[in-house]
């Protein structure tokens, strides 16, 4: 379908509206990062019987702003052995994908501005989900180049870990996302949202498994605890951004939290019905935004909860979870959903399809376990 804004051709007003939406999304992301940092610190200190930041502004709300201003005024250091140009480029390679990924997230319904109908979403390309996956893959470059260009060993180790981790979990995440795409029959994020009802979310339609896989993979993808091996302080100092200071460091920090907000927004879009919610009489344009933000907040809370609760994974445990558990599981689930869908279209009895699927799954699971055992045996012998 696409955005109705472009239906009558592109003129000055349309361009102005697009620029306006761009500004709104940019401002929203910046403010949400400020809020997210504060929210994370507050919630985690609540969970640890502390008070958390409470000096700057009411309830410490301006703490992040104060930290940001401090960072911007600090000296920008360049390590002796750093590759100058790549070193300065890397933070931007990290933050631009984080911004860009949010562009395809629908955060409201359709509204009218000066006689033009437009969706509350920066862009609605027909390949929205592919765009999301592409952006989250490109984000690896920022981190990899930052570690490599620092000319220092801890950042390099951190960035090698980060790349391996992000590439590994990319697969599981894509398969989970593919399930949502399969159910909507479209790659457009708006279509995926429209295919879900007010309460009939993909979370229930697909069975909870793709959602859980996405949740875990997204946590790993954003390098958040318990998968924050990339910046394991005990082992790697600060990880890939050890050598960064001042604005460059602030940009990495910004990108990290922006990624958290973005993957949460994507999860809300793909699995929780995005801005769908019960209709309320007054202010019909406002409520979808409220539903979207509410769901987003719940999701962000879950991430902070993870961080407060779970200890960090060991590197081999991380890889085991990604390759040996999440990828086979989400692959199997995708095939099962596909089989059920084909069965429905062909008019087969659903219990035969399900039974067959479970049987195939059991066989595959046994085979996988046997293979893993064999692999362990070979490794132990060698």
């Amino acid at each position: 379908m696409g955005d109705p804004l472009y239906a009558d051709g592109i003129n000055q007003a349309v361009i102005l509206i697009v620029l306006g939406k761009l500004l709104v999304v940019f401002a929203f992301l910046m403010v949400s990062v400020l809020f997210m940092v504060w929210f994370e610190r507050k919630v985690i200190s609540d969970m640890q019987s502390r008070i958390g930041p409470d000096r700057a502004g009411p309830w410490g709300l301006l703490q992040t702003l104060a930290d940001g201003i401090k960072l911007f005024f600090k000296e920008d250091l360049l390590p002796d052995r750093a590759d100058r140009r790549v070193f300065h480029l890397a933070p931007y390679l990290s933050i631009v994908p984080a911004f860009a990924a949010f562009a395809v997230v629908p955060f409201g319904g359709t509204i009218s501005i000066a006689g033009h109908r437009t969706q509350m979403q920066l862009a609605d390309p027909p390949v929205g989900v592919l765009f999301l996956l592409a952006m989250s893959s490109i984000a690896v470059y920022g981190i990899m180049l930052a570690g490599w260009a620092s000319g220092s060993k801890y950042p390099l180790l951190g960035s090698v870990r980060a790349s391996a981790q992000m590439v590994s979990y990319e697969a599981a995440m894509s398969l989970a996302v593919a399930a949502a795409v399969l159910s909507a029959g479209s790659l457009s994020t708006r279509d995926i949202v429209n295919s879900q009802g007010v309460y009939r979310w993909n979370l229930w339609i697909l069975g909870v498994v793709p959602f859980v896989v996405y949740l875990i993979a997204a946590t790993a993808e954003t390098n958040r605890p318990p998968f924050d091996l990339v910046e394991a302080e005990q082992e790697l100092v600060g990880g890939f951004h050890t050598e960064y200071s001042s604005i460059s460091f602030a940009l990495f920090f910004l990108a990290e939290f922006m990624n958290t907000v973005t993957v949460s927004a994507v999860a809300v879009t793909l699995f929780l019905g995005g801005p769908n919610g019960p209709h309320i009489g007054f202010l019909p344009d406002l409520w979808p935004v409220v539903w979207f933000l509410g769901k987003l907040l719940c999701f962000l809370f879950v991430y902070v909860w993870f961080r407060a609760t779970l200890p960090r994974f060991r590197y081999d445990q991380l890889m085991d979870l990604g390759w040996k558990k999440l990828i086979p599981l989400s692959l199997y689930w995708l095939l099962l959903i596909a089989a059920l869908r084909i069965g429905r279209d062909q008019g087969w009895a659903w219990y035969y399809v399900l039974g067959g699927g479970v049987a195939v799954g059991a066989v595959a699971w046994g085979g996988l376990n046997a293979a893993l055992r064999q692999g362990d045996a070979v490794r132990t012998a060698a």
Binding site: D46, M47, I51, W305, T309
Partner: protein
């Protein structure tokens, strides 16, 4: 549900008590025998207790006390006896607040207040002289501009907090001997003790303080 127990615990903590004190705004109560900055006490008639014997300077492990005694001027005596503390200086850059000076003092002249929140911008300010250490005419410690006194802090500055009796014998612990202090008079014995504590009572196991 081994994996999920942790989530329940962290969630429950959100509504639990906070352990943080909002420090400069609220302070936690200090222990009875807290060792803070010193004061030089005076008798009820306004005479100084210090006799310039230099025992405090001698016992000081950090060597932060400097005392010079002098003969009392006969027509205008500073202390009741023959001698008085002519110069009395404590260097707070060296003091470790061990309270040994307080234990050594035969006249309970030097004691410690509960004040520890004082800082200097100058090395000279770190050396407290008699002008700063001697209590004022109400018997209270002087409140210097760089010190953070709160109401009630000056109430527990006397010899009353000594671990042992002025005689040095632990058996006389808690007995009020000398303390006829300017502004306070003879103070009641320390909490949990009585003036009549005898050897048997002090030998018996002490009840836990509530």
């Amino acid at each position: 549900m081994g994996y999920l127990d942790g989530f329940r615990i962290t969630l429950k903590q959100m509504w639990g008590d906070r352990v943080t004190n909002v420090y400069p705004d609220e302070k936690r109560p200090k222990p009875d025998r807290f060792h803070g900055r010193h004061v030089l006490n005076r008798y009820e008639d306004g005479m100084e207790k210090c006799i310039g014997c230099e025992l405090c300077a001698g016992v000081c492990p950090a060597r932060c006390i400097y005392v010079r005694g002098a003969d009392n001027p006969p027509d205008e005596p500073v202390s009741p006896g023959e001698r008085f503390g002519f110069v009395y200086e404590i260097n707070y850059l060296r003091c470790i607040h061990c309270d040994l000076c307080v234990e050594a003092c035969p006249t309970e002249a030097i004691t410690e207040s509960k004040l520890f929140e004082f800082s200097f911008t100058d090395r000279q300010d770190a050396i407290y002289t008699k002008a700063e250490l001697v209590v004022d005419d109400d018997g209270n410690p002087q409140k210097l501009p760089w010190e953070d006194w709160r109401p009630g802090d000056e109430q527990h500055t006397s010899a009353w907090v000594r671990a042992t009796a002025p005689s040095g014998s632990a058996a006389y612990e808690g007995r009020v001997g000398w303390s006829g202090e300017l502004g306070f008079g003879v103070r009641a014995p320390e909490k949990g003790q009585t003036a009549e504590t005898d050897r048997a009572a002090s030998a018996a196991p002490r009840k836990a303080k509530s």
